[in-house]
């Protein structure tokens, strides 16, 4: 028993900053801007927020109290599972409003990652805080395993070895995501074409990842405001987007890929059946999916672990336009982390809400009723949300 009845909670408001590469604003200023927009979108005063779920490294609950003018904070939490944090934050916020410990919970994500201090901004070594710090420092950094693309390549190369998965799948995801970004005026790569030749010619960084298999670094923030669904309906703003179910999952040995008994095992594989069971839906009922895409290959792996297809089959599953707008399962309709922006996947949640409000512009999925959002973080943590209008 999850204790969560489908549709108890709803997303009542969304907010995003502009997504840029280069900003004068601090990470905290970006977070506040997105948060204030989410409150305004939900039709509530920001001082009435009474719950906070924070998923960024910047920003404390005190910062949010000061920035938003919160008068009575009843609940707060920080979630630190990397790119799974925003959807895991939505998960927690839904249970918080369902239990009644708070009524208006703000979940935020963002950073000035491009302009400040992520990996790559300098050349002096690891800058991101990872779980299992002693393992990283003693057994991995000395061997030049320092960046996410290197860790995840261990997973990818074993996947190819075990399943003989087609190498075409990663290119399909990269090209499909870029085409969707061209439909989104908020996408960083909205005007930048990518041909198959561009993809093939992009430099190999770490086998099997080419440059165009890797997500963007951007500055920006996004936030959502979660309330009880009945309260959202009474507020009379935009139609609420209902949360049918959420779940979080963690792989075995979550701080160590190398000795994970099954390196293909992922948190989403544990979370997805729980969420589907709570929501009472089947995968083939979904109208679209926003799948966390720090790398092209991790989209394929999530599709498999969620159960859309068997291990090794995702490259075939995504072929022939199935994941394109107009296909059976339009995927990352906003351009994702690969081609819109890296807002730790909160931009995926925001896009799902837009789709279900019918506000997705040129990227609108016709008749969108039921959507899936995932998060993926650290060494395989996962989170999933099933939303509908």
């Amino acid at each position: 028993m999850s204790g969560y009845q489908p549709d108890t909670a709803a997303i009542a408001g969304i907010g995003e900053t502009e997504y840029t590469r280069g900003t004068d604003k601090s990470g905290l200023q970006l977070l506040m801007e997105a948060s204030l927009k989410a409150c305004a979108d939900a039709g509530i005063e920001s001082d009435a927020v009474d719950g906070l779920v924070m998923t960024s490294r910047v920003g404390t609950n005190e910062d949010f109290v000061a920035g938003l003018g919160i008068t009575d904070l009843k609940f707060h939490a920080h979630i630190k599972i990397g790119g799974a944090s925003p959807v895991a934050g939505l998960h927690l916020a839904c249970h918080a409003v369902a239990s009644g410990i708070a009524e208006r919970v703000l979940v935020s994500a963002g950073r000035n990652a491009y302009s400040s201090m992520r990996l790559g901004a300098t050349d002096s070594g690891p800058r991101v805080v990872w779980p299992g710090d002693d393992i990283r420092r003693n057994l991995e950094y000395p061997y030049g395993m320092i960046a996410p693309m290197q860790w995840y390549s261990l997973h990818a190369n074993r996947w190819f070895h075990e399943t003989n998965a087609s190498r075409e799948g990663m290119a399909t995801v990269a090209l499909n995501t870029r085409r969707h970004a061209h439909l989104n005026p908020r996408a960083w790569f909205r005007d930048r074409p990518m041909s198959r030749e561009d993809y093939d010619a992009s430099p190999m960084l770490v086998t099997p990842f080419k440059l165009l298999d890797v997500c963007l670094e951007t500055d920006g923030a996004a936030a959502i405001l979660v309330t009880r669904a009945d309260a959202a309906r009474r507020a009379g703003g935009k139609p609420p987007v209902y949360v049918a179910a959420t779940a979080e999952g963690h792989p075995d040995s979550p701080d160590d890929l190398s000795n994970r008994p099954d390196i293909l095992g992922m948190g989403i594989g544990k979370a997805a059946p729980r969420a589907l069971d709570i929501a009472g839906i089947r995968l083939d009922e979904l109208d679209f999916a926003e799948i966390y895409d720090c790398f092209t290959f991790i989209v394929l792996r999530q599709l498999e672990e969620i159960g859309f297809c068997q291990r090794g089959e995702a490259p075939d599953f995504v072929a022939n336009g199935r994941i394109a707008l107009g296909g059976e399962l339009p995927l990352n309709t906003h351009g994702g982390l690969l081609s819109q922006a890296h807002i730790s996947g909160m931009n995926h949640v925001v896009e799902a809400v837009r789709q279900l409000r019918g506000d997705a512009g040129q990227a609108q999925v016709a008749g969108a009723h039921l959507g899936l959002v995932t998060g993926y973080g650290d060494f395989g943590d996962g989170a999933i949300a099933i939303l509908h209008n």
Partner: protein, 140 residues
């Protein structure tokens, strides 16, 4: 010219890892084994994952393994590795299932594949006093 770039170094005095790093200096692969139940585990942990015991010894493992997974790196994530490109990160699996991570350098790193048999080599660095693990394909 500037100072030479230092390779990222482990903390060889870390109490949880000290026996392993001393093992590498002695040209031995030592991993953690629970005194109480005999569970072998890697990476080392404060508690035994099987019985939650907190006393360990450090037996020597065989130096032969098979590549479980790997990565060939073409863009250095740290300046020390720039002059070693491309280099391989190799996760090699021992017969008992434990996997130890090391490097492979040299002209044939692109031949590293899952399933390739490798042997541990121990590369001592005089300046830092640290010994690094290398996995070298065995020709057979």
């Amino acid at each position: 010219m500037g100072n030479p770039v230092q390779r990222p170094l482990p903390d060889i005095e870390d109490p949880l890892y000290q026996a392993h790093f001393q093992g590498l200096k002695d040209q031995q692969l030592r991993v953690q084994q629970c005194d109480a139940c005999g569970q072998l585990q890697w990476p080392p942990r404060d508690l035994c994952k099987q019985c939650h015991g907190d006393r360990f010894h450090w037996p020597v493992m065989p130096d032969q393994a098979v590549v479980y997974t790997y990565s060939v790196v073409y863009r250095a994530p740290h300046p020390w590795f720039k002059e070693h490109l491309p280099y391989a990160i190799v996760v090699a699996e021992l017969e008992n299932g434990l996997r130890l991570l090391g490097n492979a350098f040299g002209a044939d790193v692109e031949k590293i594949q899952c399933g390739v048999r490798v042997k541990a080599h121990f590369q001592h660095d005089e300046d830092s006093g640290v010994c690094f693990l290398r996995w070298v394909p065995t020709t057979s």
